[in-house]
């Protein structure tokens, strides 16, 4: 099994990672990891595989600490400062660690409880909890490397620079970082709320790509000066609507759009689709084909995965549940000759008047029918009628509900036509920049109906 420093074997002066004006090369990043690992090795408290909660917002220090802890033989729990967790999920780490000015600070957890984690696995990453209570996903650290190496085989670009708005502790961001390392590329972290200040970066890096969620890609698009030619847009974390891909390729005909489907349970990506101007538009929404090292099957329309780098189990509400050989992704999928298509999640299926409705699937259909990138479908209980569907817009413009219903009638089945049409000017997002449907549902009665 390779160590963390085996993975970081390169010794070049190519830029690797930037944040807030600080840039580390491959060599200086490796040196930082070695220095931090040496510090950890001197700390007697962290000498025999103790479980450590990693608290670090700065992406450079976060990744350096992550590698250093793995190199030191510790089990790492990825940070939770932006993710709500059940208190019962938080008592299985012995220490928390942070880093400032390249110095580590270790604190003991007075509430530590032994016995939740099994005797294997050395990293636990928590999901954002957008579809349920957050759960810790147990991996070995080499799962992340193995996944990144498989992704690297499918990424044809090399020596690029990318802008990323994701929080560093998300699986998508970790995968981007590792793949950038493997392709001698440079990852530039930027705060999404300061996206408008990114223009000077595009002036500096004329072919800089954007990596992140669909919201990041479409928001970043408007700030790219027209004379720039981004080499790629790499979507991750959520379904990329075909309309978004079309807009990117219309603005930048030379660029590549990577439509990617990933899983925290696979420590990175699963399916990848490399789209360019020659790709038929009816294939934009395909997530492509599986990466090497993974196998899949569709049973009753549901997607299952098997891989050497599949996770080892979940920590959920204070207990550990071991993973099986095959993992159900709970995605409704169809494998067509042109690649895999996803149609929502089996666990987002609800019943309207006794008929099954997949929220994600009809949301995608609605976005296509209305030619909009942002339209959110939310199911809420009605005191008398069971479940009703509301369609939410952040900026409906001049469109009326009558016009919307007319457009949807041709696409949706009668029971899929939403029952309410509402405006919410500032849509809430989870930490991983997925639309937070639970928060919308909580506020549904306060939203403004469309005329």
């Amino acid at each position: 099994m390779s160590t963390a420093l085996d993975f970081l074997a390169k010794d070049s002066q190519l830029p690797l990672i930037s944040n807030k004006g600080t840039t580390l090369t491959q060599r200086s990043f490796k040196e930082l990891v070695e220095r931090l690992a040496a510090n950890l090795a001197k700390d007697n408290r962290l000498c025999s595989g103790e479980t450590v909660l990693l608290h670090q917002d700065d992406p450079i220090e976060f990744y350096a600490l992550m590698f250093a802890l793995w190199e030191n033989g510790n089990r790492v729990i990825f940070p939770t400062s932006h993710i709500m967790l059940e208190p019962s999920s938080l008592d299985f780490f012995q220490f928390s660690i942070s880093c400032r000015d390249n110095e580590t600070a270790v604190a003991e957890n007075p509430d530590f409880q032994e016995g939740i984690l099994p005797g294997y696995g050395n990293s636990v990453i928590f999901s954002s909890g957008s579809t349920g209570p957050p759960k810790g996903i147990l991996h070995y650290h080499h799962h992340y490397y193995d996944n990144a190496r498989a992704v690297r085989q499918r990424v044809l670009e090399h020596g690029t620079t990318s802008l990323i708005f994701l929080k560093p502790y998300l699986v998508s961001a970790i995968s981007h970082f590792l793949v950038h390392y493997l392709t001698d590329s440079h990852l530039v972290f930027e705060n999404f709320n300061e996206v408008h200040t990114s223009t000077p970066l595009f002036d500096k890096y004329r072919t800089m790509g954007i990596v992140g969620s669909p919201i990041h890609l479409s928001s970043g698009l408007q700030f790219i000066p027209p004379e720039c030619q981004p080499r790629y847009f790499f979507s991750s974390g959520d379904f990329l609507p075909g309309i978004c891909t079309k807009r990117i390729l219309t603005n930048f005909p030379e660029t590549i759009v990577y439509h990617v489907y990933g899983l925290a349970e696979l420590a990175g990506r699963f399916f990848m689709h490399r789209i360019n101007l020659n790709t038929p538009s009816n294939q934009y929404e395909s997530v492509g084909t599986e990466i090497e090292g993974t196998r899949f099957r569709c049973t009753d329309g549901e997607l299952f995965v098997k891989a050497d780098f599949l996770f080892k189990g979940y920590i959920k509400e204070g207990t550990f549940v071991a993973a099986g050989e095959w993992h159900s992704t709970q995605d409704i999928a169809e494998n067509r000759p042109s690649g895999m298509f996803l149609f929502g999640r089996s666990n987002d299926e609800i019943k309207v008047l006794g008929n099954k409705v997949s929220l994600k699937r009809i949301e995608n259909q609605i976005r296509t029918a209305l030619n909009r990138e942002t339209a959110v479908i939310v199911a809420t209980p009605h005191p008398s009628f069971g479940t009703i569907l509301s369609l939410i817009f952040d900026d409906p413009g001049d469109v009326t509900r009558a016009e919307i219903i007319s457009a949807l009638r041709a696409t949706l089945k009668p029971h899929e036509i939403p029952h309410q049409y509402l405006t919410m000017h500032h849509l809430p997002f989870t930490a991983s920049m997925k639309i937070d449907r639970r928060k919308i549902a909580e506020q549904i009665d306060t939203l403004i109906p469309l005329p």
């Binding site: 309207v352 008047l353 008398s384 009638r409 009668p414 029971h415 036509i417 029952h419 109906p449």
Partner: protein, 81 residues
């Protein structure tokens, strides 16, 4: 709200859901296949939101809300309560 105003709103909503003009308020919108029976939920939510009426689901069925006239009479009666 007077009956004519109610009728205008209901007719407009049914026509949007059906995707066609309905000349006769007496026509059986579900039985004639103008609307799918599953659209009854759209009509019930529309009535509640547009007219501020709380519908008792035991009051209604495909027959009691079976035509524009019947829907309007139901709303008119509820508003009078």
């Amino acid at each position: 709200m007077n009956y004519k105003h109610i009728e205008e709103k209901v007719k407009s909503e049914i026509e949007v859901l059906a995707g066609c003009k309905i000349a006769d308020s007496e026509v059986k919108i579900f039985k004639a296949g103008i609307l799918d029976s599953l659209n009854i939920l759209n009509i019930m939510v529309f009535i509640e939101n547009e007219f501020g009426i709380k519908i008792d689901p035991f009051d209604i069925n495909l027959d009691t809300l079976g035509s524009i006239r019947k829907i309007c009479e139901y709303i008119d009666a509820k508003e009078a309560d």
